[in-house]
């Protein structure tokens, strides 16, 4: 299969030098059995955590200049009560931000009440990432989610009816027993709300989780490689046919020239021309023509980002570092006036190259030729990839096709 994606390619201008800011809210109402993100299912430590967060922000943010994205993730950020939520947002918005930052808050459907949404908007949030996961009740139960399909639909309706939100919907596929039909049903129902952004993540079950145990013991059977592939392709084709661009392995952005409101608006007609094929037309910038998630792009583009909170990761220049995982550990370090850092690494040029190589095939931007070695072996590898239909050459860049996305972890091996 050779499918070309309709993603914008050509010279993708780097998002400016501004950094991204991520805040890890380590609290959830209950732990989902498949998740290994760090969180605690109790709100007792919230006050301590907020105090510590404020300290951390004061301590470390100065090295980064302006932030142009803020992302409140976790855990479940919307588990915070109004007061604490206000305090957190105030703290973050006091940091140096650009004029039009993208401010995302992750939310669970049951927390997306009109009152909450109003507060979030007041506090400066302009983007929501809604953890819908599925619109099949049986699947939601399997996933241990605390909401039903109905709850999710209501939440999306509420979001659409009040305020101007940039809405991203998170979905999971390759669930035990999931069929193509159920998947398409979920996608179809989500598209009724014309979200700006859809993420389709393959369910990844980590070993040390309850679901991991269930899989290991054979109680739960995950779909095999062919089914996984099929579901990912279905999502890609379905969403692309409905006006979304598959710009990263698991992420889709809607063309902003399509109407946002109203049900079942489908994009009809031929695909827009690829930028480099119509000279004279300015190459599209990701976030102007497509509702991409600017924050996440920073990870894939190796822009700087600061992660606050337990277990959060940061990157600046050649340094990567990450915070202590536990809330207590995090708070204690900051109480003692220390940065709550658990570890760090300084990247060598070789390591930087490997990072770029590993990321290249995951986004529509691909990789410029000059980032790869200049030798016959590399040329041969590129030729093989092109003839296999995984990669295509556009100008001086090599970009993945859908097949390339599917094999994004294999492709780098050809260049090692």
């Amino acid at each position: 299969m050779n499918e070309q994606l309709t993603a914008p390619i050509g010279e993708v201008p780097r998002p400016g030098p501004e950094a991204g800011l991520y805040v890890h809210v380590p609290f959830c109402r209950s732990k989902c059995p498949y998740c290994d993100f760090f969180s605690v299912p109790s709100a007792a430590l919230v006050p301590d955590w907020i105090r510590a967060l404020e300290k951390e922000a004061r301590m470390v943010a100065s090295g980064f200049g302006l932030f142009d994205t803020l992302y409140l993730g976790g855990g479940t950020p919307t588990v915070l009560e109004d007061g604490p939520l206000r305090r957190v947002m105030d703290c973050l918005c006091r940091l140096p931000l650009t004029a039009t930052p993208e401010i995302t808050v992750e939310a669970n459907p049951n927390d997306a009440t009109p009152a909450r949404l109003k507060l979030l908007a007041e506090l400066g949030a302009n983007r929501l990432s809604l953890g819908v996961q599925s619109l099949q009740d049986a699947e939601l139960r399997l996933l241990g989610r605390t909401h039903t399909a109905g709850d999710a639909l209501r939440a999306m309706a509420a979001i659409r009816s009040g305020g101007h939100w940039n809405l991203g919907v998170d979905l999971l596929f390759a669930l035990p027993g999931q069929t193509e039909r159920e998947w398409v049903e979920t996608l179809t129902a989500v598209l009724e709300f014309a979200p700006e952004h859809v993420s389709c993540y393959q369910l990844t079950v980590k070993e040390d989780t309850p679901m991991g145990e269930a899989v290991k013991s054979g109680r739960l059977v995950l779909p095999g490689e062919e089914v996984q592939r099929g579901l990912l392709c279905t999502a890609s084709r379905f969403l692309e046919a409905h006006g979304y661009v598959h710009y990263e392995v698991s992420n889709y952005a809607r063309r902003t020239d399509l109407a946002r409101r109203g049900p079942t608006r489908r994009h009809a007609g031929p695909e827009p021309p690829i930028a480099c094929e119509s000279p004279g037309r300015e190459p599209p910038v990701f976030d102007r023509d497509f509702a991409v998630c600017r924050h996440n792009l920073k990870y894939w583009d190796r822009s700087p980002y600061l992660g606050l909170g337990p277990s959060a990761h940061s990157f600046l220049g050649k340094r990567r570092w990450w915070n202590l995982r536990t809330v207590r550990g995090y708070c204690q370090a900051l109480d003692a006036g220390e940065p709550p850092v658990e570890g760090e690494e300084l990247l060598t040029p070789e390591q930087e190259h490997l990072e770029k190589l590993g990321l290249a095939w995951r986004t529509a931007a691909g990789i410029p030729r000059h980032e790869l070695a200049d030798n016959p072996a590399t040329e041969a590898a590129l030729a093989r990839l092109v003839s296999r239909g995984c990669v295509r050459r556009v100008g001086n860049r090599y970009v993945p096709t859908l097949e390339g996305y599917l094999l994004a972890d294999q492709i780098p091996l050809l260049f090692l």
Binding site: T204, V249, Y299, G307, W322, L354, L413
Partner: protein
């Protein structure tokens, strides 16, 4: 001279030879009990671990018999494996008698018989000893019966002992002095000493271990090694009391060592005759022959950068092992290496283990091969042990492969399985007989190539460990030989080529194709594995391509993780061998080749 006795202990594997040797040494008081280490003669780690003797070592045991007479009992410890049969025969030639050990619970086994025949060939006095009488499963009467029927020896002459517990040891020593004749020889005759072993000492060079048959040798004299005429000045002579014990002279009847500035053991030959340059013996002692390797394999460093290190290691190894031969070799897949000749599979295993363990080498060895003979249409004869040099089939008139005569001892209930095993391996002249109730002896002629391919493991497996075998050379016989090539995505992997009998070619090809399918990991592109005879594909397997290999999420900490994986994969790739566009891990080579352990 009347007070010397030269003897050896011969036995089937694990029948207690080394333990008995320990007890004799202990009894002779050569070592303080506190210092005593079990099986002290087996100084090599591998020997200890496997419970076998590889390097034979000699020790002179002082003993005073019941009448108060003093003796020097020279125990010549012999290697216990068929690979080293020539060494065994030279050691036996240096003795006047042997203790023939029989395990009281196992009875007479394949090598007991083989060893007995060797001893009889040298006209040695045989003292049967029934060992392990302490075991609950010991059946002394049955053992005696087998000694009579199988070995044709008067069972009443058998001694009983438990080497482990130390009972019967004195009786054995008495019997040695009483029954084994003293050595003959005239100390005034021209020197004729038989070399039956040699070891290497980094400070002194080669230490020659010999039995003096005629004459005597002293420090300062010049000796000549008769097989190649090399002369050397004697620096030291002596006997072994576990350590070297220098003497003024070694004379007829004695067993000991000579140090004469000989650089390496390769300058010496087992079975050679030492004489004096000034007064040489008229003829060498009989029985000398150049030992020829029988099993061949190519050796490669796992990391091609380590080639020089391997070359050095082989040189050092050879200082102490004259029977290993090697020369440069190379493979497109595996790089620079060496083609080596071994006395047998055990020898091959030992060389590999010692290189890995003592010399710290990481090595790959190719499939062991025997040496084939071809007569070409133009009349020339060639011998080939390396598949790379297999002649053009169009030019071959006749091809021959080496055969061995195999004797297998097994319990009756496994007869069918073992017969099948032999027939599967192209056995000829298959016969069987019943040496004892419940026991069968199967004899047949087998191609040596079949014996070195998994025969030992399969025999042990179908007889639940009770089967044992021995074999002797039976010459070359015609065979329809072909060269099997293995191709990966159409490219020949030269290191995997092998010569095989046509009848076995398909099954071997299938096995290797299946094996590689297990060992080579999936890649982005499909991998076709084929076995071919010339242009004909006779077997195949396919490794399907990945249809999907991508992580769902890549944020924050995932990027480090992903990069670390790539770093690891990059390192791993360096250790792979590239054939065409396919990276083959070392394990694919190692495991295909290691299916032949003896």
């Amino acid at each position: 001279m009347t007070s010397i006795r030269n003897f050896s202990i011969i036995a089937h594997i694990d029948h207690g030879k080394s333990t008995l040797a320990d007890r004799l040494i202990q009894y002779a008081g050569l070592v303080d009990d506190r210092q005593f280490r079990d099986q002290i003669l087996d100084t090599m780690d591998i020997e200890r671990e496997r419970g076998i003797t590889i390097k034979s070592q000699t020790v002179a045991l002082p003993y005073t018999d019941s009448r108060g007479e003093s003796f020097a009992l020279n125990l010549i410890d012999t290697p216990g494996h068929v690979d080293f049969s020539y060494e065994v025969s030279r050691a036996l030639a240096s003795c006047e008698g042997v203790l023939l050990l029989v395990d009281a619970s196992q009875g007479v086994e394949a090598q007991t018989v083989a060893n007995l025949y060797a001893a009889l060939e040298h006209d040695l006095t045989i003292i049967p000893v029934i060992n392990k009488i302490d075991l609950p499963s010991a059946d002394i009467e049955r053992a005696k019966e087998e000694i009579q029927r199988e070995l044709g020896i008067d069972p009443e002459s058998a001694l009983l002992c438990s080497a482990k517990q130390g009972t019967g040891v004195q009786g054995i020593l008495e019997a040695i002095t009483a029954r084994i004749p003293p050595p003959g020889g005239n100390r005034d005759a021209p020197l004729a000493a038989l070399i039956f072993d040699a070891t290497y000492d980094p400070f002194r060079g080669a230490i020659v271990i010999c039995r003096v048959f005629e004459g005597r040798v002293r420090v300062g004299e010049t000796i000549r090694l008769m097989s190649h005429g090399g002369t050397y000045r004697v620096e030291e002579v002596g006997v072994f009391h576990l350590k070297r014990d220098p003497l003024e002279e070694l004379s007829a009847g004695q067993v000991g060592y000579i140090i004469a500035g000989i650089k390496t053991v390769s300058d010496t030959r087992i079975g050679d005759t030492i004489t004096l340059e000034a007064n040489p013996a008229p003829a060498p002692l009989s029985g000398f022959k150049e030992v020829k390797p029988v099993v061949f394999s190519s050796l490669y460093p796992i990391d091609s950068d380590d080639f020089l290190s391997l070359a050095e290691a082989l040189e050092k190894y050879k200082l102490n092992d004259a029977s290993l031969i090697y020369q440069r070799d190379s493979s497109a897949a595996l790089g620079q290496g060496f083609r080596c000749g071994f006395l047998g599979l055990l020898h091959l295993d030992i060389v590999q283990e010692r290189l890995e363990r003592e010399f710290n080498q990481s090595i790959l060895m190719t499939l062991p091969s025997v040496r084939y003979r071809f007569v070409l249409k133009d009349g020339t004869a060639v011998t080939v042990d390396n598949p790379q040099y297999y002649p053009d089939p169009a030019k071959i008139q006749t091809s021959e492969e080496p055969f061995v005569k195999v004797g297998i001892m097994l319990p009756e209930r496994h007869m069918g399985a073992v017969m099948s095993l032999c027939l599967d391996r192209r056995a000829e002249n298959l016969e069987h007989r019943y040496p004892a109730p419940g026991r069968i002896e199967i004899t047949c002629d087998l191609p040596l190539a079949e014996v070195i391919y998994e025969f030992h493991d399969k025999l042990k497996s179908v007889t639940q460990g009770y089967g044992s075998y021995d074999y002797t050379w039976a010459g070359y016989r015609p065979g329809d030989l072909v060269k099997l090539d293995i191709l990966v995505n159409g490219e020949r992997v030269d290191a995997l080529s092998l010569m095989v009998h046509r009848a076995r070619s398909r099954s071997r090809a299938l096995e290797i194709c299946e094996h590689l399918k297990e060992e080579i990991p999936r890649q982005m592109f499909k991998i076709a594995i084929q076995g071919a005879l010339g242009g004909n594909i006779i077997a195949r397997s396919t490794i399907p391509a990945f249809r999907k290999d991508v992580t769902a999420k890549c944020y924050g900490g995932d990027i480090s993780r992903k990069r670390k994986l790539l770093e690891k994969q990059k390192k791993g790739k360096k250790r792979m061998k590239r054939v065409g566009s396919v990276d083959i891990p070392q394990s694919a080579f190692v495991n295909v080749f290691r299916s032949n352990k003896d």
